[in-house]
């Protein structure tokens, strides 16, 4: 019980610090993570977005997030395609765990949006599990409307804020 709790806390701490850092998978972090993951291709800078085993690749080439309709937590066809890519990557890079962060746009009351973000994050988690990712590798957290990435009060921004982001953690074992 004790080691599980410790790793969960560490895991949470990483997730939290990561989400306050806009360049969370750039530079040193990603290189470090890649070193642990160990996959390299000649001519490709390890840890860069060209390195398929890098978190940067996961984030940029595969896509770390799916978007939702207003007040919905159903996955869209585009979202499912992105998640299929995430499944492939997670199955190839078994050292990584992920925290799925659910978010809402600002149209809604605070508590409801926390619950709605949880629904969205859970929809992603359930999908990834259904495609074979081990449940213990995936945690969820909801930020409700507390962490918008776009700040305008218009649908163009809202659409990007209604999201679930798969934030990688780990690559620290072995």
């Amino acid at each position: 019980m004790k080691p599980i709790l410790t790793s969960t806390l560490l895991f949470a701490a990483i997730a939290l610090s990561a989400c306050t850092d806009p360049a969370r998978f750039g530079g040193a972090d990603a290189a470090l993570a890649n070193g642990a993951a160990g996959a390299m291709t000649s001519g490709i800078v390890p840890g860069s977005a060209n390195d398929p085993a890098s978190p940067a690749y996961f984030q940029q080439a595969i896509g770390d997030r799916v978007l939702f309709e207003v007040d919905q937590s159903n996955l869209t066809p585009v979202g499912r395609a992105t998640l299929d890519g995430q499944v492939g990557w997670l199955m190839q890079n078994m050292d990584y765990q992920a925290v799925i962060e659910g978010h809402a746009d600002e149209q809604g009351t605070r508590e409801y949006n926390v619950a709605l973000g949880a629904r969205r994050a859970n929809a992603v988690r359930e999908y990834l599990i259904s495609k074979g990712v081990a449940a213990h590798r995936l945690e969820v957290v909801s930020y409700g409307k507390e962490r918008p990435i776009e700040v305008c009060s218009a649908e163009a921004c809202y659409a990007k804020n209604r999201r679930a982001v798969t934030v990688l953690a780990g690559g620290l074992t072995s």
Binding site: A12, E111, A118
Partner: protein
């Protein structure tokens, strides 16, 4: 005395008929609050600088009178007559009042006071006069406190005056715990703060290292429940205001918990817990940590609030397909839907008087703060804006404070208060942005 009874009756009438046009009412006595076509004519009063009865009391004597005046005028029910209009001066707290001089400037109420300072002990005496009846209204009162707490003494005087003239309980000697906000919309820093109801004496209770949400006062005002992300996940904490020590209440693995509120006894917390993407309502005994699940549906069920007698809980649920308000027994069981208007309803809060439920309503892209009877009847919207949310009740159940967020990239949140009639919408001063207010009970 007849004027006094008249005022009581009128104040009650005001409460019952709030929001409706009421014809001017004939009064027997001269001291009155006149309602004409839904607009209250504020009652003119004079509050000369209090009398210093010791050497150091001079500044406090004028500060106390100023805060009493600010409290009363802030209600929208009273209008202060400026000192420049005074004919009489009050130079002795015990000397007879020159009623004619105060009548001449139409001061319907006169408040006099005296201040004595001994070390850090502050004594404040006051008297309230019905000028046109030529008589004192109630007996003189004396409050003892500390020099540091002088604003509380002023609030206590104002509470007594407000209470005697309106027949309602006071609410000035109270505090508000809220979330203080700084930084841009996409990198907002939040920390808990507590202040007097009027924005004075602000203190910060947490740092801004983690997101904190929706603090809620205990029924005795000594503890605060809130949600913090300091573990990486939303969890409920209870914080002791005086020691600023805190502990986590609910930390089950793989869950998130939020939206806590105390029961009227302060021994139980009702809150939301999310597991597997589903959010339901639970109660927890604070001492034992024992929790009980009250709802069990795939819907989002959150924002629970106890009735003041502790027998019922009002909450929001989207079990019908959209956010609506429901009431259930405090032990769980069948819930009755009470909101049926157009739009979505959330964040219900039971009035401390038990008569009304305040809520946030979203309709056609606008947000409103509103009130309804506890069976959902007589819904009345008090405000409208891009984003109003999170009402909290003044201890007398007659005023509501809430947060208003402005639109766009530069949007920010600040606090407002409004009467349950929808009158007297006014900002509450805070040094930075502010959200999620929770009003304390009246201090002892």
């Amino acid at each position: 005395m007849s004027s006094w009874i008249g005022i009581r009756a009128l104040a009650l009438g005001l409460a019952m008929l709030a929001g409706m046009a009421v014809p001017a009412m004939a009064q027997q006595g001269p001291l009155r609050i006149e309602i004409t076509e839904g607009v209250i004519e504020p009652l003119p009063f004079a509050v000369p600088s209090f009398q210093p009865e010791s050497g150091e009391a001079g500044q406090l004597a004028s500060d106390l009178a100023r805060v009493v005046a600010e409290d009363l005028t802030g209600t929208g029910l009273f209008r202060q007559i400026p000192a420049s209009a005074f004919i009489s001066t009050v130079s002795d707290f015990n000397a007879p009042v020159q009623y004619a001089d105060w009548k001449a400037i139409n001061a319907q109420a006169l408040i006099t006071g005296a201040v004595n300072v001994q070390g850090n002990t502050l004594d404040v005496k006051f008297r309230l006069y019905d000028v046109f009846s030529g008589a004192e209204l109630g007996n003189g009162l004396q409050f003892t406190g500390t020099v540091d707490g002088w604003r509380r003494m002023a609030h206590k005087v104002a509470d007594a005056v407000y209470s005697r003239i309106t027949g309602e309980g006071g609410y000035f000697d109270s505090r508000v715990v809220f979330v203080s906000e700084t930084g841009p919309k996409d990198d907002r820093k939040k920390r808990l703060a507590v202040m007097d109801y009027d924005g004075a004496n602000i203190q910060y209770l947490t740092d801004s290292g983690s997101i904190v949400l929706a603090p809620r006062f205990s029924p005795t005002g000594d503890r605060v429940l809130y949600t913090s992300y300091e573990s990486g996940f939303p969890r409920i904490y209870v914080l002791d205001i005086n020691s600023v020590s805190r502990r986590v209440l609910e930390s089950a693995e793989g869950t998130m918990s939020f939206a806590p509120r105390f029961s009227p006894t302060g021994q139980t917390v009702v809150y939301s817990l999310t597991q597997g993407g589903n959010t339901d309502i639970y109660t927890m005994d604070i001492a034992s940590g024992q929790s009980v699940r009250l709802t069990n549906t795939p819907a989002i069920e959150t924002a629970p609030s106890f009735s003041p007698d502790g027998s019922q809980i009002v909450f929001e649920s989207d079990r019908s397909g959209s956010q609506q308000l429901y009431v259930m027994p405090a032990t769980g069981g069948e819930a009755t839907r009470i909101s049926f208007g157009e739009g979505r309803y959330g964040t219900p809060v039971w009035s401390p008087r038990g008569d009304l439920i305040a809520f946030t309503k979203q309709n056609k892209g606008r947000f409103h703060i509103g009130v309804m009877r506890t069976d959902g009847s007589e819904e009345r919207l008090l405000t409208a804006s891009f984003l109003d949310e999170g009402p909290t009740w003044a201890p007398n159940g007659r005023v509501i404070m809430f947060a208003r967020e402005t639109q766009g990239a530069g949007g920010s949140s600040s606090l407002y208060s409004v009467d349950i009639s929808g009158r007297n919408l006014r900002p509450v001063r805070t040094p930075d942005g502010a959200s999620d207010p929770s009003w304390s009970p009246l201090q002892k």
